[in-house]
């Protein structure tokens, strides 16, 4: 509960920072004007700053162009996207039709977008007249499959990555060097390796009767995320001075107290990065999922791929865009909140120089 509250506080703080950004920008401009008037800075000096900023801004726009484009496309349901008039759809035709399609017609939330319906109940325990939500008739949709896979991946991943990272960072044991070395070798071999072993995977899964099993698939994704994230978290923990734990021990903290009060709080940025990466491992993959699962168990990533390749040459861009935006939304929110941590956690303190 407190985790949710602190997450909400983090998002709120971010939003406030964004909302007040224009004011801070105005102050910067005012200060520059003041400096110009009083002769503290030369016009050429100010002009250089302005040019560099504009240059940076232009670069950001170019780099993020694909994302602007697809967002604009998601608002253009029912209009022709590729026309002579330009790349972006006409703003006057913007509509939310594509999102409506995703929510109420596609398999995103419920199969065929059947959300069920409100039902009027006369009598019963809820008073004389009450409303009840009647269940969907077609069954839950792809988002529930995705969430199920990701929960398994996160639970298994965190349960194995965090203790292992701690042990690698703080303990001596037989085979430590060898296992860690093996993990480093496999750090960058995630998705690519799973596709490479797909043939073997499929026959192994079939012979053990594990195909079409979301739980096992979630475990599989966790396994693919283990080497990189264990190593990442281990390097992060290495940067926490051992003296902190020693000091806590001297003050009478037990072993588990040091974990709870010293290690975990100080590892938060690292944990945030691992959370994102492990989440992505379960949320994004689709080739294995498509091969091992049957259509009723498809997660969002496979559905998205199916929309993208519906017609050989004609992706229904607006619907694809709306679907993809909703698909990427959870990650985007977490990412937005934890962006500072991502930068900190990925900086590999021990790797510099």
């Amino acid at each position: 509960m407190s985790a949710i509250r602190s997450f909400a506080a983090l998002v709120a703080a971010k939003l406030v920072a964004f909302a007040t950004a224009p004011k801070r920008f105005v102050v910067t401009v005012q200060r520059a004007i003041y400096d110009l008037r009083t002769g503290k800075r030369t016009p050429w000096d100010v002009a250089k700053s302005v040019l560099m900023t504009l240059f940076g801004l232009a670069m950001v726009l170019v780099l993020l162009f694909p994302l602007f484009w697809i967002f604009a496309a998601s608002l253009a349901e029912g209009t022709r996207l590729f026309t002579t008039s330009g790349i972006f759809p006409d703003p006057s035709t913007y509509n939310l039709g594509a999102y409506r399609w995703v929510i109420f017609e596609s398999d995103f939330f419920f199969v065929d977008g059947d959300w069920g319906y409100p039902q009027l109940v006369l009598g019963g325990s809820g008073g004389l007249v009450s409303f009840r939500w009647a269940g969907t008739e077609t069954g839950p949709g792809a988002v529930f499959n995705s969430l199920y896979i990701v929960s398994v991946t996160l639970a298994a991943g965190f349960g194995m990555i965090v203790p292992a990272a701690y042990a690698f960072s703080r303990r001596k044991f037989v085979g430590r060097k060898r296992i860690l070395y093996g993990y480093v070798l496999f750090t960058q071999i995630g998705a690519g390796l799973s596709i490479a072993t797909l043939v073997a995977l499929y026959s192994l899964f079939s012979s053990y009767g594990l195909t079409n099993n979301l739980f096992v698939l979630g475990l599989f994704y966790a396994a693919s995320a283990i080497p990189f994230n264990t190593w990442l978290l281990k390097t992060y923990m290495d940067n926490i001075p051992v003296s902190y734990e020693e000091a806590a021990m001297v003050d009478g903290a037990s072993f588990f107290d040091t974990i709870r009060e010293v290690i975990l709080p100080l590892t938060k940025p690292g944990l945030a990065v691992v959370l994102i990466f492990v989440w992505l491992a379960g949320w994004n993959e689709f080739i294995i999922a498509q091969t091992l699962l049957r259509p009723e168990n498809y997660p969002l990533s496979v559905e998205l791929y199916n929309i993208a390749t519906e017609g050989r040459f004609s992706t229904p861009w607006t619907r694809f865009a709306a679907f993809a935006n909703l698909f990427a939304l959870p990650v985007a929110i977490v990412y937005f909140a934890a962006q500072r941590s991502v930068e900190d956690g990925l900086s590999f303190g021990g790797m510099e120089g």
């Binding site: 560099m52 694909p66 071999i189 072993t197 192994l204 949320w283 990650v331 590999f348 790797m351």
Partner: protein, 331 residues
């Protein structure tokens, strides 16, 4: 305490305990074991099994699963070496890794330098925006790029190039500077290769930028000032102050992203299935297609084993000589 009591308990037991390769101090191993087991059963075991398949003549899914395939030794590997498609795929893959790596490094260093520059106002926000692609699902962004590289006359890049042509013609520029639109980005060999590289660079630059920026921020400002006092120009400061600071991290990020590029599957697959005419099949796509489209499971397994061996070898060399495992030996 506990161990001394056990020692008293019986001579046989204590002798057994001292014969074991681990002792009570090694309990950290218990924290690591579950992850190793999970990883081995889902990642290493399939590789071993894949190697077994590569030694058989499995030609359809049933024979792989049901075990109706015969062991034929290294025949698949021999066939592979004679297959021109294998060599073409291998060289295309290496070219792809090399070209995209060089472009990536330049792009990422450029972005990192600009977004860490003292004169850029609001650089923290720009940095936050610029690393956003890292958080988007690959299938999403890669499909979007396919849409932008559309062959159609009104595809995004073709439209942009058309505008550029109009602009240049208005300046009465020579014909050489104009593009012959529409360009079939996905139907020409090198055009498609160019599209792959562009997309790969776009996917990988955020990771590099994060690592380079954090290295840049660790450079003390006083170093730059000292260099400036000594009259060093921008280029000289870059060479003597900035470059030494980012060399390590850039090498580190290069190794990791190069290994991923080598295994790139989604870009060629989503763009045009490694086409046109199988000319741009990166190695994993090649192996995947041999299994999926042609049912050559034994051959496909051999291809993928070769690919895995290459990545493993690459990582081994990188880890040994690139200082990737620096922290491994320390305690």
């Amino acid at each position: 305490m506990a161990s001394s009591q056990l020692d008293v308990g019986g001579g046989g037991l204590s002798r057994l305990r001292s014969a074991l390769p681990f002792s009570g101090h090694d309990w950290g191993l218990l924290l690591v074991i579950p992850g190793v087991i999970l990883f081995s059963s889902f990642m290493l075991y399939p590789i071993v099994y894949l190697f077994y398949i590569s030694l058989t003549d499995a030609t359809f899914a049933g024979s792989v699963i049901g075990g109706g395939a015969e062991l034929i030794g290294l025949a698949n590997y021999a066939q592979l070496l004679r297959d021109p498609q294998f060599w073409s795929s291998m060289s295309t893959t290496w070219l792809f890794v090399a070209v995209s790596l060089v472009v990536k490094v330049f792009v990422a260093v450029g972005i990192a330098l600009l977004l860490n520059h003292a004169r850029v106002v609001g650089k923290r926000y720009m940095r936050a925006a610029v690393i956003v692609p890292l958080g988007f699902p690959g299938i999403f962004t890669i499909t979007v790029w396919r849409g932008m590289f559309s062959d159609a006359r009104f595809g995004v890049f073709n439209t942009v190039l058309g505008r550029y042509n109009e602009f240049m013609s208005a300046l009465s520029a020579p014909q050489v500077l104009l593009f012959d639109v529409p360009i079939g980005f996905l139907s020409g060999r090198w055009e498609a290769f160019f599209a792959y590289v562009t997309t790969e660079v776009w996917l990988a630059y955020p990771f590099m930028v994060i690592i380079i920026v954090s290295a840049l921020q660790d450079v003390p400002e006083s170093l730059h000032e000292a260099a400036m006092v000594d009259g060093a120009g921008w280029l000289q400061r870059f060479r003597t102050v900035t470059l030494p600071a980012i060399k390590g991290p850039v090498l580190f990020a290069s190794i990791l992203t190069a290994a991923t590029s080598f295994q790139q599957f989604l870009i060629p697959w989503v763009f045009n299935r490694g086409g046109p005419a199988r000319q741009n099949e990166l190695i994993i796509v090649y192996g995947y297609r041999e299994a999926i489209s042609f049912n050559e499971f034994g051959l496909s397994a051999a291809i993928l084993i070769v690919a895995i061996a290459f990545v493993g070898l690459f990582m081994l060399v990188a880890v040994r000589y690139g200082g990737l495992a620096e922290g491994v030996g320390e305690q």
